[in-house]
Symmetry: C2
Subunit: 254 residues, 2 copies
C-alpha cells in the first residue's frame, strides 16, 4: 500500500457532494485515495488562503476529511500538514456546473488545482457542465483515465489541466475529448433597471443568460460540440507578448 | 466637458477609502472622473459578478457612487449601466497593501481592472505595498502620469497593467518604475498544529510570513529594490507553450 501513489481529492461543493464521491470512487484502483474537502459549499471563495483564523479538520469517514476553510486551505493543509506523505496527484471536483473560459479566474474548483500546482503536485480540475443534471459517471470515468495518464507522464511545470464534461443532452454520447484553449464569455451588457415599491431604482446584472464567444479551439466550443475539453492553465498571468508594445512606456520618473 | 475623456475609478477597499480619494483627485486634471466603488470593504471577493440579487447604487457625493456589490459589479454596472457614456480608462485602487505575484489571482483590486479589460476599456490596478503606512501620494502621482500615457497610447488588447508602489522605508525615495513579470510566492509550508483546551487539534496555515521567490525581473524584486512595478497581465490563462508537450495526451476515448 505505502508505495502506491497517493491521490488527494478535493472540491468546492463540500465534502458531502455527489461529484466528489464519484471522483474519489473512480480513482480508487489507481492508488491510495484521500479526500480533504471543505465542510460545506465554498464555491464563491476563489483562490484564497485562510490566514487570520485557525482551521479544524474533522474525519468524516475512512480517508475522508472535512475542513472549515476554502478549497485552497484544504489542499495546502493536506499537502503541508495532515497527509503525512506527498501526494502524486491532486484532483478537484467533480464540480456541479461548468468552469469554462474566464470563469476559471474565480472558480473554487480550479483554485484547489492551482494550489496543488503551486505546491508542485500535478493537478487536475474537473467540472460537469449542466444545470440540475450532470454527467458525473462519464466525468468520473474520464477523470480516472486522465489521472492514470498524469500519474505515468506528469504535467508540464506550473500547469494544471482544467477539464469540462458536456451536459447531458438528448441522450447523445460524449464524442471524445479535445485539448482546448480558454474561451471568453461575452459579458452581459444588459443591465436591467427596476424601481422598487418605494420608488428607488435597483439593478440586475445580465438580464439574460451570459453568453460566450463561440470560437473553434476553445473550451466552450468543444463542450458545445459534445467533446470533453481539457485546457492547460498556467499560473503566470504575465502577458510576455506585450513587453514589446510596452517598451514605449518609457517616460521619466520620478 | 462632454468631450474630455471619462475616467472610471473603482477599488475593493470601499468608496470611503483614502487610497481611492487620492487616486481620483490625482487624475482630476485628465478628464471627467467618476467613482463607482463598493459600499464597504470587499477585498476577499475576487472576480465575481453578483447575479442572484439586485444591486443598489447610492450617490454619496458629486460623481461618487456606492454599490452594494463586488468591485467587478461596480465596473460592470458603471460601464453597462449608470455612466451614460463609455469610459476611456478604468483605474482601480489605490489598494492598501501589495498585489504582487500569485496574489493577483484573488485580488479584488485587480479584478476590477480585469472587468474593465473584459469590457474592452484600458484598465490599470494600483496597489501601495506596506502595512499600516502607505505611499498614497507617490502612488497617486505615478498613476496620474501613467493614466495620461494610457489615455494617449491605449494598451495591448486583453491586457491590464498591475502597478505596485514600494512601501515607505527609511525615507528612501522611489527610484523609478520597471516593467516586470508576475513573481511567485513561496507558499508557507509551515502548518502550525495546536491543541485547544478541549484536547482537539487545530491548524494555522503559514506560521511565518509567507515568503516570495526573489528573482530579477519580477514585480517582487522591483518593489524590494525601491522601484514601482508595472506588470502587464492578460486574461487568457491558457499555457499555449504546453500544447506541444500535451500532444502525447492522445489515448482513445471513449
Amino acid at each position: 500500500m505505502g508505495s502506491s501513489p497517493l491521490i488527494l481529492v478535493c472540491n468546492d461543493d463540500g465534502v458531502h457532494s455527489e461529484g466528489l464521491a464519484a471522483l474519489a470512487a473512480a480513482v480508487q484502483p489507481l492508488g491510495d485515495v484521500v479526500v480533504v474537502a471543505p465542510d460545506r459549499e465554498r464555491s464563491a471563495v476563489s483562490h484564497s488562503l485562510t490566514l487570520h483564523r485557525p482551521l479544524r479538520v474533522e474525519e468524516v469517514g475512512a480517508g475522508r476529511h472535512a475542513v472549515n476553510g476554502t478549497p485552497t486551505d484544504c489542499v495546502n493543509l493536506a499537502i503541508n500538514g495532515i497527509l503525512g506523505r506527498r501526494p502524486s496527484l491532486v484532483l478537484s471536483g467533480i464540480n456541479k456546473g461548468a468552469n469554462l473560459g474566464d470563469d476559471v479566474t474565480y472558480s473554487g474548483t480550479v483554485s484547489a488545482a492551482m494550489e496543488g500546482t503551486l505546491l508542485g503536485v500535478p493537478s487536475v480540475a474537473v467540472s460537469a457542465v449542466g444545470r440540475g443534471s450532470f454527467r458525473f459517471d462519464a466525468a468520473a470515468a474520464f477523470s480516472a483515465r486522465l489521472a492514470a495518464w498524469v500519474l505515468e507522464r506528469s504535467l508540464p511545470p506550473d500547469t494544471l489541466l482544467n477539464v469540462n464534461v458536456p451536459a447531458p443532452r438528448d441522450g447523445q454520447p460524449i464524442r471524445g475529448f479535445a485539448l482546448t484553449r480558454m474561451g471568453r464569455r461575452r459579458y452581459g451588457d444588459a443591465i436591467v433597471e427596476k424601481v422598487d415599491p418605494r420608488g428607488k431604482k435597483y439593478y440586475w446584472i445580465g438580464g439574460e443568460e451570459l453568453e460566450f464567444v463561440q470560437e473553434e479551439g476553445t473550451d466552450f466550443h468543444a463542450v458545445s460540440q459534445g467533446f470533453i475539453s481539457v485546457t492547460p492553465i498556467h499560473l503566470d498571468l504575465t502577458n510576455y507578448k506585450s513587453f514589446d508594445a510596452l517598451k514605449a512606456l518609457d517616460f521619466a520618473w520620478p
